[in-house]
């Protein structure tokens, strides 16, 4: 009962200043199931800081531990001994999820099927014991915020996927949570809806300034929504940085490859200040001594063969609409990927000249 009273005051507070979120040494090991193998380390002990009001995206391939991290933050999962979760200055490690004041948005919406839109949004407010007037007012605000006007009385099974996810978002936001957690909220939607809802969620997160953690395996979503991105690999954070840092200065071959496409250029030697690569030479002042350099397909330019630094033969073209992707054989093990304007016509077998600006090249510390 005592906690109840505290909670009521909590939820009535005016939109307070956003809080920071810190994980300290949070790992998670699942015991091996019966009849099978040893304990499974889903998450290596990790530290993670989310600034007040920031949106941090956890990005990574399936099974890398994104959901596990999110569940540790929410309180649905306990970290292994020694792990700590801090909301602002409060250690919430021992608090169960219902006392943590987190909002959750799931991939499968998780709307209460026995309640209509309004009742779903009002649920958390009802639990907190708000007066009917306050509940009605807050639900109204939320409905406006997520553009669901006119659908208040609909049973949730009559909504489209996008509308369902808007209800879920409104339901999570209605209680003014301290931290908002998303687990692949757009993964079940079709491309068009996904884009629209992504824009809406992005605007909401920016305007509300609520501390959020957003799990996805879609890199475009990650870059559009994240103030910072943590790229995860095998239960650890491979790189943490702004979308720009991650894209232009990937810290590992894994990150470079996971975010966008990347070309790998093996350096065969240096001659007169130029680096020899398959199909030609690069005139660069830096990177002497490097054995491998990388560049993005869109940073390679097509130019007349006579002025080209690298020449090759077009193997295949993929028309993408806004551009086209060329696969060029330069004699290297893997073809070079080049993004070129979509109006140029290239046929397989044609000889093509390419140039790469020095700024477009980058090296990666852990690469060999």
């Amino acid at each position: 009962m005592a906690t109840n009273i505290v909670r009521n005051e909590n939820s009535n507070r005016p939109a307070t200043a956003p809080i920071s979120l810190r994980l300290r040494h949070c790992g998670r090991t699942f015991p091996g199931t019966r009849g099978s193998h040893a304990p499974h380390v889903a998450l290596q002990p990790l530290d993670l800081d989310v600034e007040p009001g920031e949106t941090l995206v956890l990005l990574g391939p399936s099974g890398c531990g994104k959901t596990t991290t999110l569940r540790i933050i929410s309180g649905l999962e306990q970290p292994d001994i020694g792990g700590q979760v801090w909301f602002g200055e409060e250690d919430v490690t021992q608090l169960p999820i219902e006392k943590r004041d987190v909002g959750m948005v799931f991939q499968n919406y998780a709307l209460f099927p026995n309640m209509n839109v309004e009742a779903n949004i009002a649920y958390g407010l009802r639990i907190r014991g708000l007066s009917p007037d306050d509940i009605r007012r807050r639900v109204g605000e939320m409905v406006d915020m997520v553009h669901l006007n006119g659908l208040e009385r609909r049973p949730v099974h009559e909504l489209s996927g996008g509308q369902k996810q808007r209800v879920a978002l409104a339901r999570a936001l209605a209680v003014r949570p301290r931290v908002l957690l998303f687990d692949e909220p757009l993964a079940a939607l079709d491309a068009k809806l996904r884009d629209r809802l992504r824009v809406d969620i992005g605007q909401l997160l920016r305007s509300l300034g609520i501390t959020s953690v957003y799990v996805t395996h879609d890199q475009a979503e990650a870059m559009a929504l994240g103030d910072r991105i943590a790229v995860m690999e095998n239960g650890r954070i491979a790189q943490l940085g702004t979308p720009r840092e991650i894209y232009h200065h990937p810290g590992s071959a894994f990150v470079a490859d996971f975010i966008g496409s990347v070309n790998r250029l093996e350096i065969k030697g240096a001659e007169e200040g130029q680096l020899m690569v398959a199909g030609g030479r690069l005139s660069v002042a830096r990177y002497h001594g490097a054995s491998v350099l990388y560049c993005r397909p869109e940073d390679i330019e097509v130019c007349p063969v006579t002025q080209a630094a690298i020449t090759g033969r077009v193997l295949q073209t993929f028309f993408l609409g806004q551009s086209q992707r060329l696969f060029v054989d330069t004699g290297a093990e893997t073809p070079l990927q080049v993004e070129s304007p979509s109006r140029e016509q290239w046929l397989p077998g044609q000889t093509i000249g390419l140039s790469i600006a020095e700024e477009a090249l980058f090296s990666i510390a852990d690469a060999q």
Partner: protein, 299 residues
């Protein structure tokens, strides 16, 4: 069948096409069906409908002693009415208690993993395999004159406490074979349930009680209703257990047996049978409507 046929006329693709002429698939299928249906119909008529109609007609016949029509006797005569009422109340009590007790157990078992769980589950389902006679015998072992409770009370107070030969004994026995069935149904429903619903409710601040009331019960309501209805129907018609416990317990199946075997009072036996069948059928019917899922009858 008819929309299928119309469809096939408009779109020859859905029927076989021979020399540009489409053969409607639906009609062919219907003709095949009617052949298959004939023996089934014959069987239905011979073994179900005929005896049943005869039973209904017989129930309207005169009672041996009073000459009053059987159905009217059941509804007006103290002895039959009380037997009907006690059977109804007993069955309601059994199904409500079974759903309450086993509902919690089933939810707990579905949501928790512990060593020995599969062993416990197979023990729990054991009573499902027992015939009513054996269940009756078990109740006597527990609450009969030589039963465990009697031994215990004899030692403690010098008196033999028994409950086996009464409605209480019957209640215990019926509970005994209802609970496993409810546990199994509830467990299956809980495992099918989307756990993120519970998690969403908890993230919004709901405590365990609120999660159960707002999320879990609504989600497994169809399972609770249907399994409750089956328990009710089973308890209404069960015979073996009560027969073992003694024919002095006044429930409808025993009454039917008594009228038929002891007094050759066929009208009364038929009337009671029809009413028993009707009550059971109605309960299953409503359960099906309310739960939206298929509900089969009990043993």
């Amino acid at each position: 069948m008819s929309p299928d046929r119309r469809e096939s006329r408009r779109q020859p693709r859905s029927g076989a096409v021979f020399e540009g002429r489409s053969v409607p698939k639906g009609r062919r299928r219907l003709r095949g069906w009617s052949w298959m249906l004939a023996p089934a119909l014959g069987f239905f008529l011979a073994f179900w409908l005929l005896p049943f109609v005869r039973l209904i007609v017989m129930g309207a016949g005169p009672d041996n002693n009073t000459g009053i029509a059987g159905y009217w006797m059941v509804l007006t005569h103290e002895q039959y009415l009380s037997s009907l009422m006690s059977t109804l109340l007993l069955s309601i009590a059994v199904s409500v208690s079974a759903v309450l007790i086993a509902g919690f157990c089933g939810y707990f078992l579905a949501r928790h993993q512990f060593p020995g769980k599969s062993w416990l589950l197979s023990m729990l389902t054991f009573p499902l395999a027992f015939p009513g006679v054996v269940v009756g015998f078990l109740v006597i072992m527990l609450g009969g004159r030589q039963g465990a409770l009697a031994q215990l009370s004899l030692w403690a107070t010098g008196e033999r406490w028994t409950f086996a030969y009464s409605l209480t004994g019957l209640f215990v026995g019926y509970l005994y074979f209802s609970i496993p069935r409810v546990i199994m149904t509830v467990m299956a429903a809980c495992e099918k349930m989307d756990t993120s619903l519970e998690e969403a409710a908890r993230s919004l601040g709901a405590n365990t009680r609120q999660v159960v009331v707002d999320v879990i019960i609504p989600a497994i309501r169809p399972a609770l209703i249907s399994t409750g209805a089956i328990c009710f129907a089973t308890s209404m018609g069960a015979f073996g257990t009560v027969f073992t416990l003694g024919t002095r317990i006044n429930v409808v199946p025993i009454a039917i047996y008594g009228e038929f075997t002891n007094y050759a009072n066929f009208a009364m036996a038929a009337a009671l049978s029809v009413i028993l069948g009707l009550v059971t059928w109605i309960s299953l019917f409503f359960a099906r409507r309310l739960s939206g899922e298929y509900v089969g009858g009990g043993a």
